[in-house]
Amino acid sequence: MATADASMKIGEAKIERSQLGSERVVSAYLIVQIGLFVGLAWKWSYFSMADKVYHLWPLSDPFFPPWLQSAETVRWAYVITLGAIVLGVAGMLATVRSVCAAVQAAALAFLLVHQASYNDMTFATSLWVSIWVCWFTTRMNRDEPYELLNRAAFLSRAIASMILLGGAVGKWTPEYWSGEVFYDIYFLERDYWVFNYLRDHYDPETLRTLATWYSRKVIAIETLFGFTLWLLPPKLAAAFGVAIFFSIAFLSNFLLYSVLACMIGLCAVGFFARRR
């Protein structure tokens, strides 16, 4: 009798743990999709203005196929991406979620090679995060929740490391080490609270020195975490990832949240992982 009670309790605990795990899986999915949506909608008014510009002044360049120069296709790819995220989240059914995730990844891949949007890193980070979403949706109803969350957290760390490494390696060049690039882009004229404050309080010579150390700080952080983030335990990596991606935009350019909101969401997946 006592043995039957004990095994019933163990069974109930297992079910409870499994339910809690499933809720965590859905929460991880939602937080990443919210990050993606916020990032893509962050520059909504800018993209609306851009849409008008692309329609009014088409630029013919034989490098791009005509359908990747069209103002219509870039507009629809953007709208389809947002629509697929909303439908995927609202759809709830596993198949709907997976199909929507595949559509959003395909639309973002399109935006990444379109003449009007190839340069906007919003679409590069969003594509990698959507690829993660695409994979995650195919496993949500199949895998044991905690096992899945541990794998999901590892993949999110690997992607975040690669994104940081991409930023770091391209800056291992004298123009960034000297601070010349950031001085010209941000310190000289950029209307943003950090640079306005520094311009108000320091003379041009000190400002130039600050630009050098600001640039070296960026290189050091991107390099350090580009190499190590994927090796850290899930929760610690999540905390560092969220803090780094949040601070990059906070300390340089508010519009950068369009690029980094999805990375913040992706890094947060680590908070849902659990030791076995």
């Binding site: 510009v53 692309y54 630029l59 003449q115 190839y118 794998r151 992607i159 010209d184």
Partner: protein, 169 residues
């Protein structure tokens, strides 16, 4: 389906492996950048839309490259050989990535094309001693349409350009 089959079904996750391989591939490519001039040249050409083929350019598109390389641009409203009232006459300016965005992306396209005139652009991107220079003519075709005419795109000696740029100050 017994427990073992369920476990092996769970473990079979080819998409996970494929994504991880793609991440590793992109990371290895990035780490080759400072050590192999060929990789640097391919990446610099990517930033100038000067890659030999469009599919090769597309393959590189997902490789993260935020604020990479020393990218500069200069805009002229007359051809290079003429002394010209340049739009931004002070000096060439730095730009975060893809210097070609100055005319293809929204705000730059508006600023440069809205007056309806010819523009001559020069971009430079440099990385650890390699410098790519690209010259482009933006030609009005009428009714708001423009043509992006690539005049040249070649690697040059960085010292030559530094001399020219310091002369422009």
């Amino acid at each position: 389906m017994d427990g073992n089959e369920q476990n092996s079904e769970r473990r079979r996750d080819p998409l996970f492996v494929a994504i991880l391989l793609a991440v590793c591939g992109a990371s290895i490519w990035l780490l080759l950048l400072p050590f192999f001039s060929t990789v640097a040249r391919i990446s610099l050409k990517r930033f100038h839309l000067a890659t030999e083929s469009f599919p090769l350019w597309c393959v590189q598109a997902p490789i993260p490259s935020m604020y990479n390389f020393g990218n500069q641009y200069e805009i002229r409203d007359l051809p290079e050989d003429l002394i010209t009232p340049v739009l931004d006459s002070r000096r060439p300016r730095y730009i975060n990535h893809y210097p070609s965005r100055i005319v293809t992306f929204a705000n730059g396209r508006y600023a440069l094309l809205q007056p309806g005139q010819d523009r001559w652009l020069t971009y430079w991107s440099s990385y650890r001693g390699q410098k790519l220079e690209t010259k482009v003519h933006i030609k009005p075709l009428g009714n708001g349409r423009f043509e992006y005419v690539r005049q040249s795109s070649e690697f040059i000696d960085p010292k030559d350009v530094d001399f020219v740029l310091s002369g422009a100050n």
